[in-house]
Symmetry: C2
DNA sequence: TATTGTTATACTCTATAACTATA
DNA sequence: TATAGTTATAGAGTATAACAATA
């Protein structure tokens, strides 16, 4: 009987601890949930390390990108676009506003709403961040060919 | 000039807030980081909802699976296999032990190490959990054909 | 009465450093 | 001195409920 296939349980006679050099594959490797999580963590670790010099977190970057593409977007629309809850947007935008990268403008027609815009400084920084992000994304997935990368993107977008 | 391509900045004359029905695609949709995150969140939401009745979190499930496949695995080996830090394993196993699903056995040769085993009750529950997990995984990705699912799994495992 | 944004809050996840007991 | 596990702690992420201003 191979070590991997040992069938010791809490009630069986053999219950000595084992430290395999390398644990084998399990059912986890057949689930998209686990594989997605591992892959996502790896790519985010690259991203976070790359962006650390600018102190930009993934959520902040995604907010900047969406605001740039949709100047004047409201906070509720931004929340929906990013798939996060409104209270998170408050903090997210507040931090960006503190750093002078974005700002809120009260809507004249509906004074409850705030339109969000990038500042000039925000646009300048984002231009650099976007390049860094694309580079990081590629370096984190260097095991994939260009064709595989495109294929993976398409499959992921079919999922969500 | 289309609404989407409006180029209002904080310093430009047009800075009224806008609430588009549906924000358009951005650079985010070309990055694996963002797409992986969105897909992973969707699959995890399905998983969490499915497992709620058993009060099992993703990390707990993955620990149970690895322990079952590697009875007697030490906590440090488990941490490495799951890609998490040793302090997290402590809490993870502690909760499983409290619920009578797993237990720690001190290693006789090296009394610093603990081998982890499933209890009979843990094995019984896990058998059900595995079926639920596979079902949830499939339901969360019904947009994919079997071939696409296999392809996606292979690509993800190439990434991490 | 409904909606936008906000505050307060709490709970989970995650990472780090420091401690203990064994080696 | 080094290692396995543990404790303590803090920070980030996330979700909910309740509130203020406005519609």
């Amino acid at each position: 009987m191979s070590k991997r296939k040992a069938h010791a349980t809490a009630n069986s006679p053999v219950r000595e601890s084992v430290e395999p050099e390398q644990l084998g594959p399990t059912l986890l490797d057949d689930t998209l949930g686990y594989s997605l999580r591992r892959a996502q963590l790896q790519v985010f670790q690259h991203f976070t390390a790359t962006m650390a010099v600018h102190d930009i977190r993934p959520a902040q970057f995604s907010a900047l990108v969406v605001v740039e593409a949709n100047p004047g977007v409201t906070q509720s629309a931004l929340a929906q676009a990013l798939g996060i809850d409104p209270p998170r947007v408050v903090n997210l935008i507040h931090k960006l506003e503190e750093r002078g990268l974005a700002l809120r403008v009260r809507c004249k027609r509906d004074r409850r709403s705030h339109g969000i815009f990038l500042t000039k400084s925000g646009e300048t920084l984002l231009a650099e961040l976007k390049q860094l992000a694309l580079d990081s994304d590629r370096r984190a997935t260097v095991n994939l060919s260009d064709a595989e990368r495109t294929q993976l993107l398409a499959l992921l977008q079919k999922v969500y």
